[in-house]
């Protein structure tokens, strides 16, 4: 029997198995941001340790940076304090930092790939649960807590238990208007938000092969929403082509040599898995969430589930969701009026996402009373969008065009929902309070669906806006 990528890469990075039974895993690439790292630096300072291999850590700022006015000092004193802490910590430890005024700045999970830092066969860790995004390249990418950031800074390793591997085999050709976001929302709604606990997800099959790197990132990004700490796609020509010429990717002969390694670590044809799940997406429709976790999602043409149709555990959470959202069981999701539309985040803030949203918005106007925010995931995404004239499309439709950052995905900067506002969002979490207002409501969907909601003032099926007639 052959071996899967996960086991190959894990074994290559396992320093040893500790007495506790946990594996000591070497982390090849460590990414940090301003929110979860300051305490880790304090901890190593307290213990008089130093950063072991500063060249294996890169820092950026994304979570708290304002996306309107990024000039320093930030208006928010606490945000400014966190920025200063990161600057201090990176300078004094010799770590590269992409600061707010650096052209490489952006959401950590967007810049890693676009700069070519993220590559196949690596172990990657970051103090952020959506680190799973980087798995799109065929790496083992794990979200970690602050104590583990401390461990990585001090030892470049973490103590971690090895998960099992579930292959998610996706077949079929998606219809128009159906995106990677819809595929992953479907997977999570089927397997549940805790279905992936203890597993790494390998996304495979012809439908995954056919996806671009950016689409693969959207899928891997949300692995954690299904409980899987790691999600990955085997590297292939699409991966290699994406990486060729990227700023930190190897060049010339070194690149070819790297490709050899990347091919070698891909799962063997006859690789073994602990579990297999199959999904045919031929008849998949655009998906939207209606509840308070990302597994509470339906096809745009379905009605909301009835509590009596759900098992006991999910009925509880569903009842809570209906109460918070103010939705009726059994009712339609189509036509639900929205107040705010957010297009951005590490799930869907890349150039292809902005293009897709712009294609829907072009020639239309934001519906009356709706606030629309477009936040590119990185400075490079923003610059590319500018070259293509996308900001103009959004601005003339009435959207706000912002600087790069996490923005209203978690609302640690001034971008927040107010009161009970309902937001159609291209981000990844619809938890209560996630977008900055404890009563605020979030519906997750693809960027094109969010754009369609923006110009319609309500949840609509984006497929009805496609096909030329406007």
């Amino acid at each position: 029997m052959g071996r899967n990528l996960f086991n190959k890469v894990w074994d290559l990075h396992r320093v040893k198995t500790l007495d506790s039974g946990l594996d000591q895993l070497f982390i090849g690439l460590h990414l940090i941001h301003e929110v979860t790292s300051p305490q880790a630096f304090s901890m190593i300072k307290e213990r008089r340790l130093k950063v072991r291999y500063p060249e294996r850590t890169y820092a950026t700022v994304d979570h708290i940076v304002p996306t309107l006015n990024q000039s320093r000092p930030f208006e928010d004193e606490l945000a400014e304090k966190m920025m200063l802490a990161l600057e201090e910590n990176t300078v004094s430890n010799g770590i590269s930092l992409f600061d707010a005024d650096n052209e490489n700045q952006g959401i950590v999970h967007i810049i890693g790939p676009e700069l070519g830092l993220t590559r196949p066969g690596m172990t990657i860790a970051c103090g952020d649960s959506h680190t799973s995004t980087h798995g799109a390249f065929g790496s083992i990418a794990l979200g970690v807590g602050t104590s583990q950031i401390r461990d990585i800074l001090a030892t470049q390793t973490i103590a971690v238990s090895k998960p099992k591997v579930r292959r998610i085999q996706v077949t079929g050709k998606p219809g128009p208007g159906v995106t990677a976001k819809d595929i992953i929302l479907k997977i999570i709604s089927e397997l549940g938000v805790n279905g992936g606990i203890g597993y790494a997800y390998e996304y495979a099959g012809p439908a995954i092969r056919a996806l671009s790197m950016e689409e693969r990132m959207t899928i891997c990004n949300m692995s954690i929403e299904g409980g899987a700490r790691v999600g990955y796609v085997n590297p292939d020509e699409t991966t290699f082509e994406y990486l060729r010429g990227r700023r930190f990717a190897p060049e010339g002969e070194a690149f070819d040599k790297a490709v050899e390694y990347w091919k070698r670590i891909a799962s063997d044809e006859d690789a073994e898995y602990d579990d297999v799940y199959s999904l045919d997406i031929s008849s998949l429709s655009p998906m939207v969430t209606w509840g308070i976790n990302p597994g509470q999602a339906v096809s745009i043409d379905d009605n909301l589930p009835r509590l009596t149709d759900l098992d006991e555990g999910s009925a509880d959470v569903a009842a809570k969701a209906y109460e918070h959202m103010g939705f009726q069981e059994g009712s339609q999701i189509l036509g639900m009026p929205v107040d705010v539309v957010f297009i951005g985040s590490c799930t869907n803030g890349r150039i292809s996402d902005l293009r897709a949203a712009a294609a829907v918005v072009e020639g239309r106007k934001l519906a009356e009373g709706v606030r629309g925010l477009v936040v590119p995931g990185s400075k490079h995404v923003a610059m590319q969008a500018e070259r293509e004239g996308l900001p103009g499309v959004f601005i003339s439709a009435g959207f706000e065009w912002r600087n790069a950052g996490c923005s209203m995905c978690l609302a640690m900067n001034p971008d927040k929902l107010k009161g009970r506002e309902l937001c159609a969002s291209s981000s990844n979490r619809n938890f209560i309070g996630r977008q900055g207002s404890p009563e605020g409501r979030t519906m997750l969907m693809s960027p094109q669906m969010a754009a369609a909601a923006a110009v319609s003032g309500k949840i609509v099926d984006v497929r009805e806006l496609m096909g030329g007639e406007k």
Binding site: L12, V15, L18, D19, S20, G21, L22, Q24, F26, G28, V35, T36, P38, Q39, S42, R47, R48, L49, R56, A79, M82, A85, G121, G127, D128, S129, T131, V144, G145, T146, S147, Q148, R150, D151, A154, T155, Q156, T157, I158, A159, S161, V193, N194, I197, G198, I224, G227, R229, K257, A258, N293, D316, K320, L410, A411, M412, F431, I432, G433, R434
Partner: protein
């Protein structure tokens, strides 16, 4: 440089039940409280948005007088899902929680707990229901968590519990504060740093 060497083999304390499945890290600590460069003071922010609303304090268990001395948190399924923020277990710990008992837990959350020396103990769904009822009826009763024998004693109940075996070992051997343990492999780490193809 060695780890704390504090061996955690058993724990006794009063319980505070927080009911509900899929309680995520944004519930445990809303993101706005993460604008800090240290973890101090986070206890006040634990469960903030369910502890307070526009009318002031709610009847969330963390607000009730009877639970102010509790140190064992009882929860249901998939507790701690969502973000990797260590602020979540830090906030619970600083409120006074020393152990968590529930039906199931999100992985990053339980890993974070372990590295703070907080045992994450799993029990069957029926058992957690009984424990929660008992903790509501008799809030000042002590629970004994015996990590060696993996049993919980609570009033009339003696319940079998489960833990991730590596986490359990780490607590019992005092190696849960991992940095020191990891540093012991300094040479192997250096060798791997040199030999990796990137």
């Amino acid at each position: 440089m060695s780890a704390n060497d504090i061996k955690i083999t058993n724990l006794t304390g009063q319980c505070v039940p927080v009911r509900g499945n899929d309680i995520d890290t944004d519930r445990i600590i809303p993101a706005r409280f993460m604008k800090v460069v240290s973890f101090e003071g986070l206890g006040e922010a634990a469960f903030y948005d369910i502890r307070y609303n526009s009318n002031g304090k709610t009847d969330h268990p963390f607000n009730l007088d009877v639970y102010q001395d509790a140190s064992i948190l009882l929860v249901n399924k998939n507790f701690g899902c969502g973000s990797s923020r260590e602020h979540a277990p830090q906030a619970l710990m600083r409120w006074g929680i020393k152990a968590v008992v529930g039906e199931s837990f999100a992985e990053i959350f339980s890993g974070n707990c372990t590295s703070l020396g907080i045992p994450v103990v799993e029990v069957d769904s029926a058992d957690i229901g009984r424990l929660m009822n008992a903790a509501e009826e008799t809030p000042n009763m002590n629970m004994i968590i015996d990590i060696e024998s993996m049993t919980l004693n609570f009033g009339d109940f003696e319940i079998e519990a489960r833990m991730n075996s590596a986490a359990r070992n780490a607590l019992m051997t005092g190696s849960w504060d991992s940095t020191g343990v990891l540093l012991d492999s300094g040479e192997e780490i250096d060798a791997m740093h040199e030999s990796l193809p990137y």
